[in-house]
Subunit: 345 residues, 2 copies
Amino acid sequence: VTPFEPTPNRRPTMREVARSAGVSLKTVSRVVNDEPGVSPALQGRVHTAIAALGYEPDARARSLRRTGARDQTIGLILVDAGNPFAGLMTRGVEDVARKHGSLVIAASSDEDPERESLLFRELVARRVDGLVMYPTDHAAPSIVRGLERGTQVVCVDRVPDGLPCDAVVSDNRGGIREATELLLSTGHRDIGYLGDSLHIYTARERLAGFQEAMARAGISVDRDRTVAGLRDPEVAESAARAMLSGPRRPTGLIAAQNLVTIGTIKALHQLGLEHEVALISFDDVQFATELSPAITAVAQDPYELGRRATVRLFERLDGDTSEPHLDVLPVPLIRRGSGEMRVSR
Amino acid sequence: VTPFEPTPNRRPTMREVARSAGVSLKTVSRVVNDEPGVSPALQGRVHTAIAALGYEPDARARSLRRTGARDQTIGLILVDAGNPFAGLMTRGVEDVARKHGSLVIAASSDEDPERESLLFRELVARRVDGLVMYPTDHAAPSIVRGLERGTQVVCVDRVPDGLPCDAVVSDNRGGIREATELLLSTGHRDIGYLGDSLHIYTARERLAGFQEAMARAGISVDRDRTVAGLRDPEVAESAARAMLSGPRRPTGLIAAQNLVTIGTIKALHQLGLEHEVALISFDDVQFATELSPAITAVAQDPYELGRRATVRLFERLDGDTSEPHLDVLPVPLIRRGSGEMRVSR
DNA sequence: CTGTTAGCGCATTCAA
DNA sequence: TTGAATGCGCTAACAG
């Protein structure tokens, strides 16, 4: 013991409460955990001591001793917690976790598989009860190792190829197909597609939906009408501008993601083409209604994605051992104007 | 021991690794913690055993034993993690925490002081190293108790009255004052103010900024020109519509918050007044540039708020015992059109 | 270089 | 109804 170095931030322990109340350790434990069989008199003394010392139980020690019991903490690995989409998803996760008395450790992988794998291990080290993951497309190995060791994982939004775990995703393919069909139904034949990097599961699904719809309509798609790999609004904006400034301007556009839509709208406004060229967005955007024209969008529900994934996770934690299940959420097409414009000549 | 009930999710322990590698517990500990003084031969055997068993250290046991050492986890209590503002703040917090090797447990109080207090205690129970709080206006008691017991707390965005802890906030008062002065400088005298609930610190500060600017200009503000308590876009929209439909229509508006701005813009567009009535928003909004007119805004930087608060928190954790400090971030006024419109007659 | 002993704060088991 | 002993998984403090 070093008498001149007051142990910093030393919190009172159960033992000290016991001494202060003149009872045994176990009696305090009983009171703290609302176990029956403590006389009202002792209960009172213990509560007084707890209040006087400002005792707070140590969840770490508790969960260490209670082997097999829950830790009341789940992990959430996102690509970017700062993204509004992720924020709503987080809220869905948190709300379900709360119902189960759990808190959420959230962290961002920034689309970096190594960082994702590191986070995975850190969360396993903390012995979280389970994990909800918005995975990168290279998440498979980490997850497999985790699953082998009994760490439950549910994926959201993206589903890594051939991974034996539950997943909850939007109907990316169907949503874009429906959007494309709307454009086709109003006479559009020359449709431009602006999408995210094809390394990403959702981006591949969406592009596939577009190609399916076009193929069904018997329309061949030119290579230069399909741009992928647009990661931020600036890049999307210049890609859209290039497409719109080219010799044969498309009469309709599909922006297959949030940030791509923002860039595309900017390009349309800059060129004064917002009332000439039809636009449908995957992901709803703020002010979709206030813009002119209002933006027709295929709307995902990130809150619901997070909510369902977490419901699933707790089902697994409660002993569900059924086959991995893929839950596909429908994505409604909201018609507001920009997607219903006819071909202008 | 119950032979027919296989302990579920049982992870290998250090002891088992030691047995498997034929070394002592401590040697495994040394290898796991990269402590010097283990022969390469034993290191190799230990690593092999670790890989074979899929051993992952238990952070709970570790932090329990290492008294005084960091837990590598900080808590973040937000009002609503689903809010985009909060999402960016979270990212700022996470990025700093990461630099210090820490993860973040994030939770939402939903503006409910009781829930906030509960979360506070749950996080203390988990022995987080410290807490960043976006507090409700009733957070003071919880925080005081926490501080007394040595739990470091830094507040962001709002600062509860007379609380002895660090805080990082935007210059709410100055920002609105500057906005008001811009309207005044272009001839506006009849300015409407739409704001959030005055239970909230930032709302009070902003209203004060408005009143200060008006008072300095020697203009008295009618009661019906100042609306507070607007908590969501719908309520804000109808409040704005009422103000704009009244007998004496204001020539300029200040929307003192994100969601209020959204409602106000909707009202202006519905009434076709967006080019008649000037508008300045506190908080920047998506598509501020694409709307017509583009929205002049006083822009907060939520990421920077979170970042600075967390930097401060770790300074405290590293032993800084200076007086509590209030860090006020400037908020630039971005002129885009809607705020520079002259009075229309 | 390696191992043994103790104990972090608590819940579990069993005894009184 | 109460309490003493034991150990969760690990690291600290000491030996060898």
